[in-house]
Every structure is written in structure tokens, then in C-alpha cells.
Symmetry: D2
Subunit: 125 residues, 4 copies
Amino acid sequence: MNIKDIQKQLSDFADERDWNQFHNPKNLAMALSVEASELVEIFQWLTPEQAEAIMDSDESEHVKEEMADVMIYLIRLADKLNIDLEEVVADKIIKNGEKYSVETSKGSAKKQTTLKEKIKNLIEL
Amino acid sequence: MNIKDIQKQLSDFADERDWNQFHNPKNLAMALSVEASELVEIFQWLTPEQAEAIMDSDESEHVKEEMADVMIYLIRLADKLNIDLEEVVADKIIKNGEKYSVETSKGSAKKQTTLKEKIKNLIEL
Amino acid sequence: MNIKDIQKQLSDFADERDWNQFHNPKNLAMALSVEASELVEIFQWLTPEQAEAIMDSDESEHVKEEMADVMIYLIRLADKLNIDLEEVVADKIIKNGEKYSVETSKGSAKKQTTLKEKIKNLIEL
Amino acid sequence: MNIKDIQKQLSDFADERDWNQFHNPKNLAMALSVEASELVEIFQWLTPEQAEAIMDSDESEHVKEEMADVMIYLIRLADKLNIDLEEVVADKIIKNGEKYSVETSKGSAKKQTTLKEKIKNLIEL
């Protein structure tokens, strides 16, 4: 099953249940963030080491379900907004490659701002 | 490009920048939820009608980028945890079909608990 | 300045800017969660040790501002919903004391369910 | 009960349960954002009108509890970081007053950037 197939399945699922009244982009974005937080909740009190071993714990099914829920709302939102998820991800990876060059970012998690973004901020001055 | 290809690209990207030290599952789940909130922020003051029209506004690129960021961290986390995203989504759709039957859920956004989940809670009593 | 004073100040601030049209409870809850995520973002790539030392870093002002933003939206929402924050916190601390007894919770971050909550789940069966 | 009293109560609560091992600033920020999302979840499928009436619904206790949980983790984090919440809120309200003047912000939810912030961005160019 690929993303397009999942998109169609989720759309039919919502149609059958008359859920389009709830699935406007604002609500779907909220639902997506709520599911992301349910994933975070699993990890919140764990040490980094315990987090690494999560799939060997009795939370492994829980992790899978929360990740599925995030994906489901993301695909549903993409469908509603007519966005091609694979395309926007490919574009973003190229942009990140420019923003976070190997030279400036090696071993550093520091957020970068591109020259283009800085000039944009400057013009708005 | 499919999910497996993206996964490989993101993994190489992180390797080249020596970012695996930051990309433990706990941190990736946090980053995922932060990106989801950046998406929510675009919608927070909009009416449902304005939200529907977001792709005709000057926020359309912003929406694409935030959705790409959510997807990127989700795929990255799946890679780290050795989870097949398409598989867990397919499983979750089946589970949701049992939980939210057309009969009980038509036109209702009410959260459901399956009999199995209720019995699980009962046993833990 | 106490919570009631802050509440009044924030209400006047919104009135003067004609912001009540945006400040419905749904939007305020979203804004609150977005600010909470901006706080999380500061910590996302840090080790627990680096996080402990955050107030000695150049992120200390940033932390204060994000915490202030969370508090501001929480107080604003409480005002809109006519909720006494200090009272609900006092009630919740009592409830948590019952839920997380020293005996069952010493050294454990495990989520507890009270007997009352379990029976509530059972009745809904 | 004021914030200082609550802070003391929560600190004693954690001490008695040996929870300081879990309550580092990173984990507390995560927990705060998770509670904020639990609040968002209550509102996610509601219309703005239904959200306005939430305290007349059977979710009113739930809203109070989630708001209390957000407040509890915010106060707990402030305690750990030695931050005076009332002071940082008072400072932020002054800053917001400069950032969102009545003239530029009347009836508009548009995010503003202060001249100071723009110059800061420029210098980092």
C-alpha cells in the first residue's frame, strides 16, 4: 500500500461516517498535533537509553499505533489541501541540504537561517 | 520517491552531519510534535472557512514546509525504531474500522473504546 | 502582581486591540499548546544534563519568554471560561494525592488509574 | 493559595515520591506540552460556538483538570529553573505592548517583529 492508496482509503472511511464536517484543515492540524503529543507522552519520563530500547518494551504496540495516527492525520490533511506529500518532502530535503551544509552543521544541532530568509526579514524591516 | 527512498536519504543526511547523537527516539518524537505545532500555529487564529482556503493564501508554501517537516521526523523515527510506516497505518485503519463502525459513528466525532480495551481496563482493576 | 491582576491586564490588552474575535476557547487552547511546543523546542536536542543547565546558557531569556507565553494563554483561557486557576490546581493536587499514593508511586513514573475512574470505564461498558 | 504556596506543595509531593529523578527541565517541558495537547483534544472537533459553551457541557470537569495539569507542570518547571512566573509574565506583557501597539494590531492577529528583533536578525547576517 502506498500513500495514494492510504489517502483513498481514509477518504472513503470519512465519507462513510459523514466525518467531513469535522475534517476541516484547522481541526485536522489540531488532531495531528494531539497524536504527536500522545507519542511524546510515551517517552516523557524515559532516559535517552530507555527510549532507545522502547521497541523491546511492552510499549512497542503503543508506539506503532501513535505513529500510525500521526501518519493518518497527515495524509488526511494532505488530501484535503491537495498536497503531494512525497513531493513536498523531496523539496524540503533539498532546501535543508542548502540550509544545513555539511561544513556548518557537522556535529551541531544549531538552527540555521539561509541568506534568502535573512534578506526576506531585512526587507520587511 | 517512496517512503523507503526518503528514509534512506534522511539517514544519509544525518550520517553526513553526525546528527545521530541527537536523533534518539525521545528527541525525534519531541521534534515531530514541535513541527506539528508549527503547522497548528498557521491555523490558530483562522476561522474554519479561512482554514479551508489556506492554499489560496500566502501561507501555502509555509503549510507545505511544515507538513514536510512532520513527515521527515516521522520517517526518521520509523527508521530508528525499525517500524514499517505503511504497515502500521494499514493495521490501524483496520482497527479503526472495528472501533468506529459506520452505525455507531455516523455523524459523530465521539471517541470510542472497543470491548477489548474495556475488558483490558477491567482486568487491571 | 497576582493571577487576578494579570487576568485583568490581559483582558484589557485584548479589548483595546479588538482581539476577542480571535480569543475563543478553541483558539486559545491551540495557542497555549503552540507556546508549550516553543518551550519544548529549546530542549529538544539537549541531553538531560544540558537541559539542567539551561538558565546558565544564552537561552535563559528565551525560556522565560516561552514560559510567560504559556502562562499568558492559560490565564486568558481561564478568564474566558470563568475558571479559578488556583482553585482547580488545589483540587487537582488533592486528586493526584489519592491517585499517586506514596506507597504505589515511590520512584515510579507509571500512570495510575483510580478505582473511581476504573468503575466509570466499567459502567460505560 | 498563591503560586509560591503551590510551588512548595508540588515540590514536597515530588520529594515524597522520589520523582526528582524524572523531573528534569526537558521532561517537565515535554509533560507540559502533552497536557496542553490533552486540553486541545477536548476542542479539536468542536465548532467555535460549541467551544464557547464548553463549560455548560459534560466536559467542564475535564477542561478544569487539564488546565490544572498545565499549570502544575508550568509551576514545577519554574521551580526547577528558579524562575518567578509572575515576574516573567509582567515583563512579557510590557514587551507585548511594545510589539503589538494598538495602532498596528487593532483587529489583526498578525505576528509582529520588533525593530530590535529585526536588527538582531540583521547583525547575525
